[in-house]
Symmetry: C2
Amino acid sequence: MPIEYGHLETTGRLAAWELKWKQGDPNPPHIFWDSDVAKWMEAASYSLIGHPDKELEKKLDHVIALMEKAQLPDGYLNTHYIAVEPQNRWTNLRDNHELYCAGHLMEAAVAHFHATGKRSFLDVMCRYADHIDQTFGPRPGQKRGYCGHEEIELALVKLSDATGNKRYLDLAAYFINERGQTPNYFAVEAEARGEDPNKMRHQSRQYEQSHLPVREQKEVVGHAVRAMYLYCAMADVAAATGDKTLLDACKRLWKNVTRQRMHVTGGIGPTAANEGFTTDYDMPTETAYLETCAAIGLVFWAQRMLQAEVNGDYADVMERALYNGVLSGVSTSGDTFFYGNPLAAYPGMNGQHYASPDYHYRRSPWFGCACCPTNIVRLLESLGSYLYSTESKSLYVHLYANNRANIDLAGQKVAVTQETNYPWDETVRMTIAPEKPATFTVALRIPGWCRKPGLSVNGKAVSVKATTRKGYARIQRRWEPGDVISLVLPMPAERVVARPEARQICGRVTLMRGPLVYCLEQVDNGRALNDIRLPRSAALRCVKGPKSLGGIPAIQATGLKRKPEGGSDTLYTAQAPKHVKTTITAIPYHLWANRQPGEMLVWIQE
Amino acid sequence: MPIEYGHLETTGRLAAWELKWKQGDPNPPHIFWDSDVAKWMEAASYSLIGHPDKELEKKLDHVIALMEKAQLPDGYLNTHYIAVEPQNRWTNLRDNHELYCAGHLMEAAVAHFHATGKRSFLDVMCRYADHIDQTFGPRPGQKRGYCGHEEIELALVKLSDATGNKRYLDLAAYFINERGQTPNYFAVEAEARGEDPNKMRHQSRQYEQSHLPVREQKEVVGHAVRAMYLYCAMADVAAATGDKTLLDACKRLWKNVTRQRMHVTGGIGPTAANEGFTTDYDMPTETAYLETCAAIGLVFWAQRMLQAEVNGDYADVMERALYNGVLSGVSTSGDTFFYGNPLAAYPGMNGQHYASPDYHYRRSPWFGCACCPTNIVRLLESLGSYLYSTESKSLYVHLYANNRANIDLAGQKVAVTQETNYPWDETVRMTIAPEKPATFTVALRIPGWCRKPGLSVNGKAVSVKATTRKGYARIQRRWEPGDVISLVLPMPAERVVARPEARQICGRVTLMRGPLVYCLEQVDNGRALNDIRLPRSAALRCVKGPKSLGGIPAIQATGLKRKPEGGSDTLYTAQAPKHVKTTITAIPYHLWANRQPGEMLVWIQE
């Protein structure tokens, strides 16, 4: 996170708040910049909860002070528009991320308020939210618009929660309900700018999910991050208002993305063309885009669906995305990031078929559009909040990780401790310590990938089968301080295959161990990874992995590789290929591209 | 061809020669248009040789008259520049196809002269060539430039041959030798236009093959059609001047493209990003671009290499490209065309990952950039000239097809008749009839794909092994009128595999019969073609193919397909897949997309 702050400083993103930029100066504040600063502030705030840090708090206070000063009397707050084109406020919601930036600032303000108890940032953002509330709506003189990049909707729900001000929730619902209505606001707005109202990105309003009213949307389409943030907000508003039609729409969209459009890593949005979705079962590998932020968005959405209905399906997807498509976005050193997360890589090719002989797919320290680094940091800093949830007299455990938590349940604090090395190790020892003995339910998620889970309380076996409903083993009993749950989630290495419809990957297997997808890297397996075949009969062995990756479990097996032809340079031949045995070593996908560069492959030929 | 003429008329390409367009009018003559008209004129001229047609000749005369009238006093002739931006002649050779259009007009003029004996068109183009010769060169006041899209080089060699004027050959050599010299002309020219000289398409001068002097180029790079036309001209100039260094460069580039960068169909240039080459062994299938014109260019180049050195390798590639990657460019009805020729297709996807649910990969009647339809027509109309060549007392037979030809050899006419249904049928009966008995060599190409060729003369067996050198069985004897050669080229259906380095296709097989690559279509095999596996042990049967495709030989085999899962909607599973037997039917690749639209697949899982 200090690295992020450094980037914000050196690129001018922080100084932009001083509003010193003048026409003709270089490096004008960009329409994305406020959101980058906001995501760092949000992450920094989460970090303060567990790790108080005066210096960091001071840095935040300094930026907040700049914001207070920059805010216009009517509450408006956006460095790009105030400095660069004040006359054009709210005239291009489709492209210019104005409400999107406001949303990220609101999320950050709420996080800051929860972390520090200070209202400074929150008050700034309430004034801005009030201004937005006056500007947008169905009343005469108001704009019937919504943002081209969803985000403010979910932020307004958080702001409403934090402040108790229901108007913010209503405004979130307004934005959601207005989306995709006829006439399309982006057409109206384009016409007002004197542009062709029918000009659309990729010839469709799907790019920004404004092709249909949200309750009529049945397929996940368009820009993947936008889609995820919209669905998050829909789930939020459904939860806050009890609107079943909105929740039903979420469930339909959830089915579509997780049953037809999600890569095995939880990565979504396979094409760079629209940074988003294509068609059902389209699973490219080397050319797959799978933006880090989209997988993060899927985690956000999964968590919200889990709040609406505790169901292991949501938690399974959340875990899949988190441990694979999200974590791959950051290096083991924590200072470089992937924007896209393909499932195969080949030296010389960047996946979008721009070739350069010296090119290797590597993480970068920063991007011009820096959404992913800041997004991954704010997710990882708030990960604690994804582990548990409560509902009257039930404590749900969604994810397993070494941690201690104090949870409010049924009128008292319950101290929960998990001791585990999950996902490397298959056992979780959980201590449940209510202040005083009480009857409640502890519901433990039994991951969908686990075939033979074992469960005991204080050493006494509990039948998983008998207690499990919708993916959670529900143990209702009188809990006393010091009760110990022992959960064993056997994680043998396994082959996983995709449906026949997934044309690019069918006939191949990926190796998994627990929630982790594995991959082959050239550094362990030599070149021509795609030529390796892994026979169904070959045993999979878990072994200690490379030292430089911390010795985590690797998977080994005996595969087959083509015997090199002696001297012939023929590209195609009618001669039957001969194979020789070869030992293959797979490492967790999220750890790839941390050693010598080379080929990488997730889906192996069977 | 009448269809092409119709398109030229309705799109304004013919009327452009009347030079009536004025600033502000719609549909200004485009920089490509002259080349489209030229390619039609070239094809029409070839057609006149075999099929005299007064009407067609009149149409040509009419266009030529317009050209004569349009030509400026200094010889300059280009509808776009004369009508739209006369002040900008020769200021953007990199992008604006000015010399390229001139080249196509020259090729057409030479074809017209050979077909009709009339000099009308040829004289117009000699005047233009003289103007170009004065404009470009090393002398003071001349431009040291060359075209961003090669073509004029090979055309000037043809013009030199037709007119006996060596200056045109020298100019072709000048353009070739100047290419890639330092300083790069396109940078010089950009600077003169006030543009950034370092701005390059795809960050490199490889796009237009000006990154290095041509004799230092070792890899085929950049835009594929441009590359092919350059190599054609290099081979032409090498042949005409005896420049071995230029021929050696051609041979190195030939090795690179045919050993590392050619799809099994003879298609080249796998990516749409630069309409061209990427890296060695990059063989995408569904996303492969493989422009029809690039495969045509490979045929042109192969023929020229064959003139330089009779070697079956060149003819094999020529035949491969012709019967697969070129022929696939046109429908069986002859009136629709492919611009790109991918090796797999999937409904809803256009190969470049722009998705649309209703999209099917189909041929089009015409394109805004209409290079391919006119190019394929001029190739097919001149196909006769690809069958034979002569060299002192040798007659070479490169391709097999039903035809009669009168060939000048060793001071007399030799009538050659081929009776065959090749490539559907494996026997060729060839009658050799010299005016009077004479001793010479008939050298018959033994295709590289053929393992057990049989050969006889007048019923008496000839050893192919003993007579074959560099892919040609050379029969030297005293030939008498009525001598009959019988050649049998057994063409069983076979599996062909690619080298292990070809990551997208290794582990798969394509079916071939003789020179033809086969493919699976959904209409014959149902959906999810990629899920089909063809075990190595499954016998391949040649059967009579679909009636609607003329009953040509299809290939059948018993493959395996995944058993459909009952009701589960899971995208990924650790359950081992179960397979059931399925009969698969493959048709020749060039005939795909002529029936009901659906999936298509060339490379089948083994």
